[in-house]
Symmetry: none
Subunit: 215 residues, 4 copies
DNA sequence: GTATAACCGAGACGGTACGTCAAGTCTTGTT
DNA sequence: AACAAGACTTGACGTACCGTCTCGGTTATAC
């Protein structure tokens, strides 16, 4: 959607020969920063106006739409597209717990919860309108998390902590769904014990069914 | 918010002697029905306009705002406030699976997914603005589900299928979170096997931790 | 338009035998009084709401519309329909001056100027809609004034102060038009000298043209 | 209120360097024209809706409110702000008569009478709300007429037709007030004789009082 | 250097929904 | 039958903000 930083696409001098002023990376950063600031200072998604972002960034609406196709895209890039650190613990359990903590942290700090919900809702709208489906491609958090889980379980397998296939999807759903449910649903945050239990639930979700199961 | 049908609040004859035209139950139903119809015929929450609902119900904007404080409240009452049937199976597993199916059905049919997401997002906004917290009180689905889980586990205990305490909250989070994640996140629907696995995950989430736990 | 006091129409007992509660003259007076009070306490015609009048009179909207066909009619009856005293001076000049003073007083005190203008405007609308024309029949001030001028000039003729025909219409226009212009147009009020000059202008306007006229 | 055509304020190049899209003169004209058309095609002031003006002008409500603060301002600019031609006769009497005819023409053709009245009433309201007073500044007809009278009497003085001071204010009141009274009051129009008489009355009103006056 | 072209800020534009408000009508139960 | 209360339909209002477009002006490469 967003051709990020613009040069990196084909190397720094790929557009050699193209006349005209180049995009201002400074503007882009200022806009993202302004969007981030507004996102936390505001109580509703609709309170973040494109106009206000442009003004705060000493930029203009037109420049925003030159880089992003919609308000939701901008907020997503500004607020949700933050790198999740790859867990580097020495056990599957420690890694999963670390992943949960990272994601929770972003969901709590990146924006107020309603902004989070509003952005997500609008991204869903956009996607449906464009007839796109697939696994959470609009939510960087989501796609990153899938990668992280994959890598974490790989390491566990190498470590000998895990055998057989991994139900990544199920693990992801338990992890992300529970967090979402909690934070958006405003139950309040997890305490340490709940975090521990969630970790185990995620791991269990990933484990394939044995032939013996409950009633 | 909406004092529904109006009389039932204090019994049928509590407002005997109250002068003035009574609330038109016909209008109320027509508005809810119109909201329901628009909710499924439309791809985005914002495409449901108050004006259109009023027009389709042969009613008026003013009447809507007399009874609901916002568009989101109306959509919630129309679309999300549908009774979840109480499962009546002969095993815990059957009951949980039934609960999951019911909720999934509502989430899939009551409105298009983006409408669901948009409504939820706006309800979250309203709640934050009003400084209210607590467990999903704005989402009837959520609160009903908690009651259903409670009852289902109670029956399991009486049946001898369950011992000890129940982590209702955890079960709820796995169930609702996974569904939400799936349907809103547009992974597509669950197949039978996934449904089966989700059922087991919900049950496991409710079970308290034993002292022996995974790696 | 307004069936005034209602009984006088066919005598006090004409509707003997007609079942049902009789109209409350008390209500009617309370409504007029409430309209009068609101008219002076408010800056714009639109700030006088039917609802507010009804409430202040401890009456109801329905009752208002049972007696008057529109808001403007009510305000007219309440605010503009005040008796102009018949001048009883001993000279034409004194009488005219007295008439001017009376009318000015009503225009200044009966309602704020904008309320006066708004009421008039709406009365004009109603009249045009009803395809009625004719001399100011909706503005009691106007019709009374014509009568007063007529009588005043009659007495002057009897007194020997006036000979020949009277251009009542012209006198009325100068008198009423100047006042209207001044007060609605917000030039401020007349001082004594201006009042004196206006008096003379009104008298001159009534005098038929002689054969010799100005340059 | 409306900074008309926008450049002419300080000369054609005063706003050199001012960024931003310039006001669309085409929009402005289309809106004024649409307002004019609606003003004559309609029987009541309230029947001219901002929405309808915008639509007819292929413009939008937002654009209207960007340049005019209220409906009344727009109608005023569209309908009342039409240039009065300066009389160029060879006698005072001819000039005054010409001025009367011009003003009458505008009052009769610019809008239906109720629209005229409604606009004026709302302008009066606005002015009172803003605590502004002064001589008819909201009614271009009014202020133009004062200038025209001034100039006409100046020329009469140079011509030798007039001596001494002029009571402009009084002349204005008789002229404008009579016209207003007639047309708004719906007495019907002036005939030639009445016009003639009005002309003389206006001239007499301007003449200062001599020491000998009527009874 | 000078031409060209993409960028930039500012901000006006068309469009559309919102939520408010008052007018005038209708309904209900009481007097 | 008239009344107070109050819910109803209607429709304009004025606001807000989206995403687009038009300005004048500013770079940066190409010739």
């Amino acid at each position: 959607m967003t051709p990020p930083p613009s040069e990196p696409r084909d190397g720094p001098s790929a557009n050699r020969g193209v006349p005209g002023r180049k995009r201002s990376e400074q503007s882009r950063e200022a806009l993202l920063q302004a969007a981030r600031e507004l996102s936390v200072s505001v109580q509703r998604y609709r309170d973040i106006s494109i106009q206000a972002i442009a003004k705060r960034a000493s930029s203009s609406k037109a420049t925003i739409y030159r880089w992003w196709t919609s308000k939701a895209e901008l907020i997503r890039d500004a607020v949700l597209d933050q790198p999740l650190p790859m867990p580097r613990g020495d056990s599957l359990r420690a890694d999963i717990e670390s992943a949960i903590r990272s994601q929770r942290e972003i969901m709590k700090t990146a924006a107020s919860l309603p902004v989070f919900a509003g952005t997500w809702a609008e991204l869903v709208e956009n996607r449906v309108l464009a007839n796109q489906g697939g696994p959470m491609q609009d939510c960087p958090l989501g796609s990153q998390m899938v990668g992280i889980l994959e890598s974490v379980f790989d390491r566990a397998r190498q470590r000998g902590d895990w055998e057989g296939p991994v139900h990544l999807h199920a693990a992801y759903e338990v992890l992300f769904g529970s967090l979402f449910c909690r934070l958006i649903g405003q139950f309040g945050d997890f305490n340490e014990e709940e975090l521990d239990r969630l970790t185990l639930r995620v791991i269990e979700a990933a484990r394939p069914l044995s032939n013996s199961d409950s009633r």
